[in-house]
């Protein structure tokens, strides 16, 4: 036993030595990085080099974006398989991998020309064949978004190495802006032999400015620059030598790693609290901000007899205090949305068609005139039916509790009782999306792009995402027609008509547009971003980033 206790103290000593060693190593490492920074600090301007670490919250489902549809997979895929179309500063789609395109007047034929000189990372040229193949393959194997977005294709014709022509079954003005923005092109020379893409082990061969070097699922993904990638920095290729993605479980862990210098940029949009922490050290960190492509809204279920009354919806709309929601609940991390279409899309909101403004007295009057009288409990009722509704929302939406409480407090001031129903994601999906069993719902849409042509997916009466069960023939007609109107100006006018009708009908009241914020380290420069999916990590923007 004596011997045993000696062994024990031996183990303890070893452990202590180990601990000492570890701390010693730690401080040594910080010293070397400091020196490195000093040396490099002397040179300025963009040059090749630098290893950027991107932090993301949430694990990409797969490196093959066709078999997964989560944002993180799409983000890492965007570096190796950049989209044909990207967004400009107004959220409008512009060509990227595509050099040019032409849509026929009937919006049924698209001729697409891609840039010359792009190769797959294994050396095979990237051609029009790959695009045609992707269209056919995603439909055949029912792969994610591609299956639906290419469903309208009647025939594909490869004209030459860089030109491909799509013939559509029916007119669709947003065909290319949807397909080009959402679908990553597949390597034909690899996938043409693959029968079962769901179980195929895709190695990450792409055509983008970065290629996949190595990865460990759920932990890290390392990309390295492709020298002389033609579309970046006048044919020089991206500046960064490598880009490493590290996966964090949540925003707090990511923030801490950034402040600790382990991560240089956040690939996931950061909550306001995190932004403020980074903004507190402006010498070390910057925060890039851009309006999101989605928005937060309250929706009314038309199955509810009382909510079917336009006056009730109007009164509720007038109780929504957007200033309080944006400034207090969202701590300034959003902008007010007073128009049915998001202010990101400047052309579409020039008409300035607005929801009824915040006006509690006005709301009372609307209800009074419509015959809803206050009862002894302070709740309005008509024919014995009380204005009492359940508001369902997801607890995972950041700041949702504060938002719905502001809503509730104001609604109750005019005599509408609101019962809050916070639920988890799965229950929300079940109640709202599947069963449509709710009175009022609050939700944030992630991305509603091409609103001049694609709002049919949420507001047309027969679509799956019209949770409201809302049906208006005029709106249905506009949303149908706009999809085949080739002239952008005419579409804008049609959407103005839509908005006029929308603020009369109020199937939903749209409240705010989130500001997506991405923190970055000032050790790197050249940052930029447009309203889009990936913030500064979009391939088109990341290629311009360089180490100071």
């Amino acid at each position: 036993m004596k011997l045993k206790s000696k062994r024990l103290s031996f183990v303890i000593t070893i452990l202590m030595i180990l601990a000492l060693l570890v701390t010693a190593c730690g401080s040594q490492q910080t010293q070397t990085t400091d020196e490195g920074e000093n040396n490099q600090g002397q040179t300025t301007g963009p040059k090749i080099g630098g290893n950027l670490v991107v932090g993301i919250t949430g694990d990409p489902y797969s490196i093959a974006p066709w078999v997964s549809n989560d944002l993180n997979s799409a983000m890492i895929a965007n570096l190796i398989l950049p989209p044909l179309m990207v967004t400009d500063e107004n959220g409008k789609k512009i060509p990227y991998i595509i050099k040019d395109y032409k849509m026929s007047d009937d919006a049924k034929e698209y001729t697409i020309v891609i840039h010359d000189g792009i190769n797959w990372h294994d050396g095979v040229p990237f051609t029009a064949e790959d695009i045609a193949f992707t269209a056919e393959y995603t439909v055949k194997h029912k792969l994610g978004f591609g299956a639906d977005m290419f469903a309208n294709v009647e025939k594909t014709e490869v004209i030459d190495k860089t030109t491909v022509k799509f013939y559509l079954k029916k007119p669709q003005v947003n065909f290319l802006s949807q397909v080009g923005f959402w679908i990553n092109i597949m390597p034909k020379h690899i996938f043409e032999k693959v029968e079962d893409p769901m179980n195929f082990n895709y190695d990450g061969t792409g055509y983008g400015p970065f290629k996949l070097k190595e990865y460990k699922k759920g932990e890290y993904y390392i990309f390295e620059r492709v020298p002389n990638w033609p579309l970046a920095n006048n044919g020089l290729g991206a500046y960064l030598e490598t880009v490493t993605f590290r996966v964090f479980p949540d925003h707090n862990a990511l923030l801490l790693a950034m402040k600790n210098g382990e991560v240089h940029v956040s690939g996931s949009a950061m909550p306001v609290a995190s932004q403020k922490q980074l903004e507190a050290s402006p010498d070390k960190f910057g925060v890039l901000k851009v309006m999101s492509l989605g928005y937060g809204y309250f929706g009314f279920n038309y199955k509810n007899e009382l909510l079917r009354d336009k006056n009730v919806r109007k009164a509720i709309a007038m109780t929504i205090d957007r200033d309080a929601i944006v400034n207090t609940a969202l701590q300034g991390g959003a902008v007010k949305m007073e128009t049915p279409i998001s202010p990101v899309y400047k052309d579409l909101v020039k008409s300035n068609i607005k929801f009824p403004p915040f006006d509690l007295e006005g709301a009372k009057k609307v209800l009074e005139d419509a015959g809803y009288k206050l009862n002894s409990e302070g709740i309005r009722e008509k024919n014995g039916k009380k204005l009492e509704f359940e508001l369902i929302y997801r607890t995972t939406t950041i700041n949702a509790d504060s938002i719905v409480n502001i809503f509730k407090a104001n609604a109750e001031k005019v005599g509408i009782k609101i019962n809050l129903k916070p639920v988890d994601n799965a229950t929300y999906t079940d109640r709202v999306v599947k069963q449509r069993n709710f009175d009022i719902n609050f939700i944030e849409w992630g991305v509603i792009d091409d609103p001049d042509s694609s709002l049919a997916t949420i507001y047309k009466s027969d679509t799956a995402l019209n949770f409201m069960g809302y049906k208006n023939e005029k709106i249905d007609e506009i949303l149908e027609k706009v999809q085949s109107e080739p002239d952008y100006q005419k579409r804008v006018e049609m959407m103005n008509e839509f908005q006029k009708e929308f603020i009369e009908e109020l199937p939903t009241v749209n409240v705010y547009v989130k500001i997506n914020a991405y923190g970055y380290s000032k050790e790197f420069e050249g940052w930029s971003l447009t309203p889009g999916l990936f913030g500064p990590i979009a391939a088109k923007d990341l290629v311009k980033v360089y180490k100071k």
Partner: protein
């Protein structure tokens, strides 16, 4: 001995069957399904149906259960909904990280917790005993995430001595550098788990030590003129360890579950973190697999604990 082991293993298997069955049905009782969680304006109903079919969710639930059991017997836990990889592969990638963490924590529990418990027992009623008791009660009641964040704040952010998360800095290095890197990353999560669990070890050791020190044979040993240390280590500790070993054995099972929070906060790529990510994605097969591992570890630890106790206490006759 052989018969006893056989009996315990059979009982363990039965427990396992009950636990996988409960897991299977509870997961499917959750509202919504993995496909409707993925609902998106860009994805039509046809594609969604194709996904349901691919996941095998278009079949009635009892049929899914039979398929699951058949797979289980063959050691096939199915494919992850999230990334189409075999569940076994996903779990085996994460399991070593959790085991490493638990190994470190349990070794530390023994070499730190037991001596502290013994010390408290010997100095019973004195100041040091009171200090130990109070610290241990604080340890038992502290909120684990709070503790974890405090450690992160102090050691990673304020002192910048240790990394904030992960199990190593990507890309992983080679040889010794890699092991040192992992050791550095393991310090904070193991400290957190150690703090959260050390109380039981200390208290059990202390209490059983106090009981044992009152026994006649200890008095006899003193009367024989044996040295104090010798009595404590040889006569008392071995017997006092019985409840402590039981507690540690039972704790290991719950620690795997308790690691969900610690692993998530420290981005440790183990089973706990896997459970956290899979719940969010409603990845039934991975969750089933992870809970199966939890069940197996609890059952296994129970058997092993029984064996160790029998070795410690010859009065317990296995299979007797």
């Amino acid at each position: 001995m052989g018969r006893y082991l056989m009996y315990r293993i059979l009982k363990g298997l039965l427990t396992l069957l009950v636990s996988v069955t409960i897991t299977f049905f509870i997961l499917r009782l959750m509202p919504a399904d993995p496909v409707s969680i993925l609902i998106d304006p860009k994805m039509g109903p046809e594609v969604q149906q194709a996904m349901m079919k691919r996941f095998g969710l278009d079949k009635p639930i009892w049929e899914q259960y039979i398929i699951f059991l058949k797979g289980l017997i063959k050691g096939d836990l199915g494919l992850s909904f999230k990334n189409q990889r075999p569940v076994m592969e996903v779990i085996m990638e994460k399991l070593p990280w959790t085991l490493l963490l638990l190994f470190i924590v349990n070794i530390m529990l023994l070499i730190i917790g037991v001596p502290i418990g013994v010390l408290a027992a010997i100095k019973r009623g004195q100041l040091i005993d009171k200090v130990i008791n109070i610290s241990v009660v604080i340890g038992i009641s502290i909120f684990v995430p709070f503790l974890a964040f405090s450690f992160l704040y102090i050691f990673a952010y304020y002192l910048k001595l240790l990394p904030t998360g992960g199990a190593y800095t990507p890309p992983p290095g080679d040889g010794l550098a890699y092991y040192m890197d992992v050791a550095k990353h393991a310090i904070l999560p193991s400290l957190t788990l150690l703090f959260a669990n050390i109380a039981s070890v200390v208290l059990y050791t202390r209490n059983s030590m106090i009981d044992i020190l009152k026994e006649d044979y200890i008095r006899t040993a003193y009367a024989k003129g044996l040295k104090n240390n010798y009595i404590i280590q040889i006569h008392a500790l071995k017997n006092a360890m019985i409840p402590t070993v039981t507690v540690i054995g039972l704790m290991i099972g719950s620690m795997v579950g308790g690691a969900v929070m610690t692993e998530t906060i420290f981005s440790w790529p183990g089973i706990g973190r896997l459970i956290y990510d899979s719940v969010a994605a409603m990845d039934y097969p991975v969750l089933q697999g992870a809970f199966l591992i939890l069940a197996i570890s609890v059952i296994l630890m129970n058997i092993i604990t029984d064996l160790i106790i029998a070795w410690l206490d010859p009065r317990i006759k296995i299979g007797g």
